[in-house]
């Protein structure tokens, strides 16, 4: 049985829910968003990922209506939303600080938005009850925000922003204040709730693991520009630039001069070292500077030179980072370059085959890495 994959971005006929068209936002001299064009589709879980100050929060605040673009247009359902004030938008936001109203009970916090719509009392009551059930907060309805724990506050904030059944929910670093374990649990809870309600979620985060876990597509941003938008797997396996490869996960970057050789590219990268061979995804001209990016877990480490490997380099183990489930070996090549190799620890530590100062061979196939032009 073939399962249909949720990928409206590949369907040319699909109509995006949100469209940014050449949006620029300046604060005085500072350019926060630089001529940015993106589409976000209905029911997507869209993650904006980037270092602090990359413009991701500004992008979100423009969607919420707290900032207006300096140039360009933002369309929601085909409508330009620039002139619509925040209180008239079918968009709700979950704030990083949660912004729960301290003087109101949990119940009143969730009912706050519904009351502004002037709905009947029993309709509001039912809806609040539904939200409390969804976020498992029934027991705390009468409490005030300072009488509940951090994780519960986070759920109240989510329930409050979902209560009005917005077309689009914005989440600004929603899990930043939670500890690691609770954060992982909550990530799955978020995905679950997103699936149940069918709401489009846009999440802002600087935590790449979080973005990879929850999102259907990840947009990597830097200096007000989108560098790449793709599914988590593509972002990791097919980064379009050194920046993205380096930002998401761990990576070895080898820079050198390209030499196309019948479908493959040989990279001359260091005096006295064998050339590295990779498979190009685009046209590479001879002599062009390229970056070969390979993830540490795709580099095999062995005591003797493997027979069949396309690429094999010898080095000495400089450092071992033991992380429990995996170990990362830092291997220094004769010319001083350090390559990382990661191996799953499927044997007990006492039976580990390598130790510091061991001479080892690093090898990988010609398709394990990726060739990047920038």
């Amino acid at each position: 049985m073939t399962q249909s994959v949720f990928a409206p971005w590949n369907d040319p006929g699909a109509k995006p829910l949100i469209q940014f068209k050449n949006v620029t936002k300046r604060f005085g001299e500072f350019v926060a968003i630089d001529d940015l064009t993106i589409d976000i589709f209905e029911q997507e879980f869209y993650a904006l990922l980037g270092p602090s100050g990359c413009g991701k929060t500004t992008l979100m605040r423009m969607l919420a209506g707290f900032e207006t673009p300096t140039e360009g247009t933002i369309l929601l359902d085909g409508q330009n939303i620039a002139p619509v004030p925040p209180n008239k938008r079918a968009v709700n936001m979950m704030f990083q600080s949660y912004a729960l109203f301290p003087h109101l009970s949990i119940w009143d916090n969730i009912a706050f938005g519904l009351k502004r719509e002037g709905l009947a009392k029993d309709v509001i009551g039912d809806r609040v009850q539904e939200m409390l059930r969804l976020t498992r907060l029934e027991k705390f309805a009468r409490r005030k925000p300072h009488q509940i724990s951090g994780g519960q506050r986070q759920r109240v904030a989510l329930a409050r922003s979902l209560a009005k059944a917005p077309k689009l929910l914005l989440l600004d670093e929603p899990l930043g204040a939670l500890d690691k374990k609770l954060r992982q649990e909550t990530q799955f809870e978020l995905m679950d709730i997103q699936e149940k309600t069918g709401t489009t979620f846009v999440i802002v985060t600087h935590d790449q693991e979080e973005a990879m876990t929850v999102a259907s597509r990840v947009a990597v941003m830097d200096h007000g520009k989108i560098i790449q938008v793709a599914t988590p797997a593509d972002i990791y396996e097919q980064p379009n630039s050194v920046y993205v490869a380096d930002f998401i996960g761990d990576v070895n970057i080898i820079e050198g001069k390209a030499e196309p050789q019948g479908g493959k590219v040989s990279i001359a990268w260091a005096e006295g070292q064998p050339n590295v061979t990779g498979t190009p995804s685009s046209e590479i001209t001879k002599g062009q500077t390229v970056h070969f990016a390979i993830r540490p877990e795709k580099v095999t480490i062995s005591a003797t030179k493997p027979e069949d490997a396309t690429n094999a380099i010898q080095g000495k183990i400089l450092d071992i980072a033991y992380l429990g489930n995996v170990s990362t070996y830092h291997v220094e090549l004769p010319n001083g370059v350090v390559i990382k190799s990661q191996t799953a620890n499927n044997r007990r530590l006492s039976r580990r085959s390598f130790t510091w100062e061991d001479d080892v061979w690093l090898s990988w196939t010609d398709t394990a890495g990726i060739l990047l032009e920038r």
């Binding site: 209180n87 990083q96 003087h103 706050f112 502004r116 719509e117 005030k144 509940i148």
Partner: protein, 274 residues
């Protein structure tokens, strides 16, 4: 337990004596039967009785309360608005000048404030009376209110207001449904401060009052100039009593709310652990 130290005991005694001896003497003499303030002639409460018969004093009390309530309310509204505008409107041209101008009257000598108000009232031909005292008191109390409220607003999480807008409030609704309830304690203490300042004020009131309106401090001041009467002692004792009661109530209320918050936080921690 700490050992008894003669030095500490002496400095404590002197310190408190310095602070409270004058007031204790005043309270004791208010129960003096003699008309001469400095001669003790036995215990009596007759001056309290006479005080409540004295129309002039009661009038002054009434004027003072009226002025204090109206002016502190006006000052609270204006001061809160000023604080909001200065903290919220971002950077506009001359903002530093504006905020400086709000706080300047705090350090302005009262005599000058009073005189300038007097000149203004004469200039525009406003008859001096309750109205002019109210205006004068509003003017100077407003600065105090705006200082109190803006210090609260600087720690106010702006995203609360944004959340209210996001959930469908108009800016005005966001203010009275979210901002105002949260900053209410600061607004109330601003009002209380304005109220006390107005009750207390002698200098500005003397400049701006007319023959038709005399406040209590003015009345006390003018009668003392004719000689301290035991009635004044009685009146002052009553004022000390009222102020003491107020301070005790306020500290009890804040202590109880702090205890409640502590308890709530412990409940929350238990809930988290469970």
């Amino acid at each position: 337990m700490r050992r008894f130290s003669w030095f500490n005991a002496t400095s404590l005694t002197f310190g408190f004596a310095f602070l409270y001896l004058p007031m204790i003497i005043l309270v004791i003499y208010s129960f003096n039967a003699s008309k001469l303030v400095t001669v003790w002639a036995g215990f009596s409460t007759k001056w309290y009785g006479e005080l409540f018969q004295n129309e002039a004093f009661l009038d002054a009390v009434w004027v003072t309360l009226k002025v204090a309530i109206i002016s502190s309310t006006l000052a609270t509204v204006l001061g809160t608005m000023a604080a909001l505008v200065l903290l919220r409107s971002g950077r506009f041209f001359g903002r530093t000048l504006f905020s400086g101008m709000i706080y300047a009257p705090l350090v302005m000598p009262e005599v000058i404030t009073g005189l300038s108000l007097l000149l203004l009232f004469i200039g525009i031909g406003l008859d001096r009376g309750v109205l002019t005292i109210v205006l004068a008191h509003t003017t100077f109390a407003m600065c105090y209110v705006s200082v109190v409220v803006s210090s609260r607003l600087t720690t106010f999480d702006q995203s609360l207001e944004e959340a209210a807008l996001d959930l469908g409030c108009s800016p005005f609704q966001a203010f009275y449904l979210v901002t105002l309830p949260i900053i209410a304690p600061a607004v109330i203490s601003g009002w209380l401060l304005a109220f006390t300042l107005s009750l207390d004020d002698l200098v500005i009131a003397s400049f701006t009052a007319g023959p038709s309106a005399t406040t209590l401090p003015m009345k006390i001041w003018s009668s003392v100039r004719l000689g301290v009467s035991p009635e004044i002692n009685a009146l002052s004792t009553l004022m000390i009593g009222v102020v003491t009661l107020g301070v005790i109530c306020a500290s009890l209320i804040s202590k109880r709310s702090a205890m409640k918050r502590d308890q709530d936080e412990r409940t929350a921690e238990r809930a988290e652990a469970a």
